[in-house]
Assembly symmetry: C2
Homo-oligomer: 147 residues x 2
DNA sequence: TTTGTAATTGAGATACAATCTCAATTATAC
DNA sequence: GTATAATTGAGATTGTATCTCAATTACAAA
């Protein structure tokens, strides 16, 4: 099995793009962050290592990582796009707490199956799918009761 | 059964808010549009009837309509929030064609059930959920083959 | 009907994420 | 090494969404 760096290198080569130090830095940064992150969090982390690194480069690189299936957009949170790396992970759905922002991940095989069924029904060729449930996590529910 | 205007009036009254001509205009506009729309489409339509109507008022009113369950956000399309009215409609999922923008609506009772199950599993109190599938509709698939 | 008051409005200013521009730089193939 | 097309950073720009504030208005109570 290839490493994520190999994956990225191959993707770039196939598309006549270059593997630059900036792209390498961003790639490593993405996989060193625990799961969900937005562009600013990533920039803040990487900017410490390379003061020159521009936000624009991150904005330009992340779509490439999406394109070669190393990361994906998840839910939008407070107007910002959130990403997570998916290389070596299975697809899963998200439950987002509206109060504390906690994200619960859940995989439900039966839902995946039903989605495929729906696509077949409409002769729809799915590229990507996202199930997001917004509400309140157990802790926040308890807090709200307590008030 | 109440009309959507009654629903809105009740909601406003309960919250000490006013039923203004602008809000009435926006409400009617929303329900006269066929399903999915974004704020600009709505403004363009309403601006013709009332040249004074400000975008800000629409931006301020739509969250009220969401709050009282007359409309809901659907998928984000090209960076814009899309809305649809749901008064008198059942919840449904969306299949969005990445090429032509066509939106297919689908309701699948079994998925709804499974979602409830997941929420129970995590003691999560859902407020809202959205399932979006992005890909290519049948027509666009055929077009792409043809090329 | 009149009045008091708090909510609402429009217009423009503002905030902010995301994108674009362009000269300077650099990775890659030969 | 050299040629060349891709890439970069910094700042400008775009475009959605939000905020500000003085003027206006809906609505409840008199």
């Amino acid at each position: 099995m290839n490493s994520y760096e190999d994956e990225f290198r191959n993707y770039l080569k196939e598309n006549g793009l270059k593997f630059t130090p900036e792209r390498q830095l961003i790639l490593k940064g993405v996989f060193s962050l625990h799961k969900h992150f937005d562009i600013d969090q990533l920039w803040e982390k990487l900017h410490r290592k390379d003061r020159r690194l521009s936000r624009a480069t991150i904005y330009r690189t992340l779509p490439l990582l999406v394109e070669c299936n190393l990361i994906q957009e998840t839910l939008r949170c407070q107007g910002r796009v959130q990403y997570e790396h998916i290389f070596g992970h299975e697809h899963h759905d998200h439950l987002v707490c509206l109060k504390c922002g906690k994200i619960i991940e859940s995989r439900e095989e039966r839902i995946e199956k039903l989605q495929e069924e729906i696509c077949k029904r409409y002769h729809f060729k799915a590229v990507e799918h996202r199930l997001g449930i917004r509400g309140y996590c157990q802790k926040c529910q308890n807090k709200m009761k307590g008030t």
